[in-house]
């Protein structure tokens, strides 16, 4: 592969509510067994990108733990490998990452010391399957300076939270509108870019000198007439999980066999850190319908239309409906949970009731002691 990869995984926002109190969005558990960053990492690995940097800043604990070994994504290599960079104090720099540009700039050594001619920049909160080498081929064929991957976003999605892209017939981007009030097209920026390494270094250095820190606003929008910026249309599944509702819907999308098989059964299945939890256990009295269940889970109650993550325990006579139960949650007997996302490692006492609104799911965070007499 003629490119190195950069995954931007620093982010957090208020729309994730309590869920990102504990972790960066890229570390959010996804579809039972995996985490969001696995999707971008798997795409990198399957596109034969050998050298990948993950840039992280906000609450990096979960992400660092998840990426503590690079071997699960086949990045345990002498040539290339996986590098996790968070901001550090140096003689020249006392800042956190002040924006996407700054985050890459602070690690510009990674770009300067590589020899691959291209760079693939991807965000860590996108759920999609894409062979980046096809984007690169497109990029080269179009003689583009920057290629932006774009797509139609999900029907249920609030399109206004994305950058909108307007192209000419050839696919060249003529206009951007970041988070517009009124959408003119539904083609949105996926946050995946291909750019020549030397050009990126040049652009970053110029922007930093001018105190500009945002990749979209200060590079894409500002240079759209000066540089050949092309759109590569992604026509398979793509979703961004950066709000509670999108996170919920995206997980529920995996109840669909087509989507689930595309990611997990077809060639290039999503890679993740192996955890070796035992198979999920269904005890007498349980009733599980239309749900995803990850390994290590023990179910005694009723589960419907839900996604149960790894190593959870669901007590007898519980009723879990249209909800997401994250990793290692303990739910006591006779509890009712509907339209909720239950934060990982929570302990829900017996006989509790949590009911959210189907159109506005409730995030449940409890700090109960698990082992009480």
């Amino acid at each position: 592969m003629k490119a190195i990869g950069i995954i931007l995984a620093g982010g957090n926002n208020r729309r994730m509510q309590a869920l990102t109190a504990k972790r960066a969005i890229a570390a959010m558990p996804m579809a039972g067994q995996t985490r969001a960053v696995d999707f971008a990492l798997t795409n990198m690995a399957n596109s034969h990108v050998q050298k990948v940097a993950v840039l992280t800043q906000y609450n990096t604990k979960s992400l660092n733990e998840h990426l503590n070994s690079s071997k699960w994504w086949d990045f345990g290599r002498k040539q290339g490998g996986l590098f996790v960079y968070s901001p550090t104090l140096t003689q020249e720099n006392l800042n956190w990452y002040r924006g996407t540009i700054d985050s890459i700039y602070q690690n510009i050594h990674f770009l300067k010391e590589s020899h691959e001619p291209y760079v693939i920049v991807a965000s860590g909160d996108g759920i999609y399957k894409l062979d980046y080498s096809q984007v690169l081929d497109y990029h080269i064929a179009k003689r583009a300076d920057i290629t932006v991957v774009t797509t139609k976003c999900q029907e249920w999605e609030d399109v206004n939270r994305f950058g909108q892209v307007i192209t000419d017939k050839d696919g060249r981007i003529t206009d951007f509108e970041e988070k517009p009030m009124v959408m003119e097209t539904s083609e949105v920026n996926c946050g995946i870019y291909v750019v020549r390494r030397r050009l990126l270094i040049e652009l970053l250095e110029t922007c930093i000198q001018e105190d500009r820190y945002d990749f979209v606003r200060d590079i894409l929008v500002r240079y759209r007439n000066l540089k050949r910026i092309y759109a590569y249309h992604l026509d398979s599944y793509w979703s961004n999980i950066a709000t509670v509702q999108s996170y919920f819907r995206t997980n529920m999308d995996f109840l669909d066999a087509g989507i689930r098989h595309a990611f997990f059964k077809e060639e290039g299945a999503v890679l993740t850190k192996a955890n070796d939890f035992p198979p999920a256990k269904y005890n007498p009295g349980c009733c599980v319908r239309h749900s995803i269940v990850a390994s290590g889970t023990i179910i005694n109650g009723t589960v419907e239309d839900s996604v149960i993550f790894k190593s959870s325990f669901i007590g007898s006579n519980c009723r879990i409906k249209n909800s997401i139960i994250l990793n290692d949650v303990y739910i006591g007997d006779n509890t009712v949970i509907e339209n909720c996302i239950v934060e990982s490692h929570n302990t829900i006492y017996a006989n509790s009731t949590y009911i959210g609104d189907p159109n506005n799911v409730r995030v449940v965070v409890e700090h109960n002691d698990r082992y009480i007499m």
């Binding site: 299945a269 070796d276 035992p278 999920a280 256990k281 319908r289 390994s295």
Partner: protein
């Protein structure tokens, strides 16, 4: 040193194309995962795995040992297969002969102690405690043994010990009137210099075996041989019925052999990260189901491996279904062991009728189980009796009147065509 070369012929068609240690167990695991996980959990990070019979599946499962953290700069896991030499090339002719042929491997690490294990038992054991025992007793040989009911002791190699010291005074191989109920588990710790000497001295004994030759030799020579008593779950899965039974124990409400404990995790080479999907029309109870399964039918009292598909309307009861197998729509499967990558057609019935003694191999097939070997295909609409065996791609013509009677078998030579 892990002995994983055995066929496990009493597992019938399950071991037609793989060694017994490679046979699936408990859904996502293979039998060898248990001793390998015990090794790394006990701090044993240099493991030689001796393979001989059908090693492909075993080799690809172990790989470089990543799954067990046995990918080490120094040590780690090494597959040791029999090899040709300038003179006297031979297969591994016995358990101790296999070690003898790998003296160079062991010498290269210059160990003080060597742990000898079998690759075909289900248990969790801290070998370090056994080694501490070995050291404290200043033993040359320590044999792990567990108490069994005295009436069953005549099926095992029995150790007669001095009750005060634990030192072994006598051995009895499958005695008619056992003097002790301590059965040898086939787990030994040797002081390497003692074992090396015994192997070299006895190298010309045909089918050199630990139980029959090496340990009696050490004992006769006066080396201190001790018995380390083990009192926890240990299961031999040597026969189809004991294999089925051990799997079924895992689905108990609180299994005796608990895989869900945080402590002493069992590791395996995970082949999929896919979530398990349970459809709206499915019904699962009292079962364990591994990653990547797609359940549309009914599953009860069963153990499912990874990526198993149970079609709509299908009913699976009291069965073991291994990885990547598909059970067709409206088929009924009762008390069956179905190995990996099988395709069971639509509207089939497995395990129907009265039990009959096997006409194929009554020594192996002696329970009311339907056993289907890996990569088998069963056509739509057939009915299969109890105590039957199927291996290979069967077609409707193989089933007179659409029926395989109890006790019968269809085994199509599993060779490459």
């Amino acid at each position: 040193m892990l002995l994983a070369g055995g066929q496990g012929s009493r597992l019938g068609v399950l071991t037609a194309k793989m060694a017994k240690p490679a046979v699936s167990f408990g859904g996502k695991y293979r039998i060898i995962d248990f001793p390998l996980s015990n090794c790394i959990n006990s701090g044993v990070d240099t493991v030689g795995v001796m393979t001989q019979y059908q090693p492909l599946r075993l080799n690809s499962h172990i790989g470089i040992g990543i799954a067990w953290d046995l990918d080490r700069t120094v040590g780690g896991v090494t597959i040791l297969s029999p090899y040709e030499r300038s003179e006297n090339s031979e297969w591994y002719t016995g358990t101790a002969n296999a070690i003898f042929q790998n003296i160079d491997y062991i010498d290269s690490f210059d160990p003080t102690y060597v742990l000898i294990l079998g690759g075909d038992h289900i248990y969790k054991m801290d070998y370090e405690l056994m080694l501490n025992y070995h050291k404290a007793r200043k033993a040359d040989v320590t044999m792990a043994a567990m108490p069994v009911p005295i009436e069953e002791a005549s099926r095992f190699g029995v150790l007669v010990t001095d009750p005060d010291t634990g030192r072994i005074v006598d051995f009895e191989e499958k005695p008619a009137h056992p003097r002790s109920n301590l059965a040898s588990m086939g787990i030994y710790i040797f002081t390497w210099s003692v074992l090396r000497d015994a192997l070299v001295k006895n190298k010309d004994v045909p089918s050199l075996d630990f139980g029959k030759h090496v340990i009696p030799y050490c004992h006769a020579k006066g080396n201190p041989v001790y018995c380390y008593e083990y009192n926890s779950y240990w299961k031999d899965v040597g026969t189809l019925y004991s294999y089925w039974e051990a799997n079924m124990e895992l689905i108990d409400l609180v299994p005796v052999f608990n895989l869900y404990e945080e402590y002493w995790r069992i590791y395996t080479n995970s082949i999929t990260n896919a979530p398990t999907y349970i459809d709206g029309g499915a019904d699962i109870t009292r079962s364990i189901v591994s990653e990547g399964c797609e359940i549309y039918g009914q599953v009860s009292n069963s153990v499912l491996g990874t990526n198993v598909t149970i079609g709509p309307g299908a009913v699976v009861r009291d069965s073991i279904i291994m990885a990547d197998t598909v059970i067709g729509e409206n088929s009924r499967v009762e008390k069956a062991i179905i190995a990996e990558n099988c395709v069971i057609g639509k509207n089939c019935v497995l395990g129907e009728g009265e039990y009959r003694e096997s006409t194929y191999n009554p020594k192996v097939y002696a329970a009311d189980l339907v056993t289907v070997g890996e990569r088998s295909v069963i056509p739509d609409g057939v009915s299969i009796g109890k105590n039957t065996a199927i291996l290979g791609e069967t077609v409707p013509e193989d089933y007179p009147h659409g029926r395989l009677e109890s006790g019968d078998a269809i085994v199509k030579a599993g060779d490459v065509e």
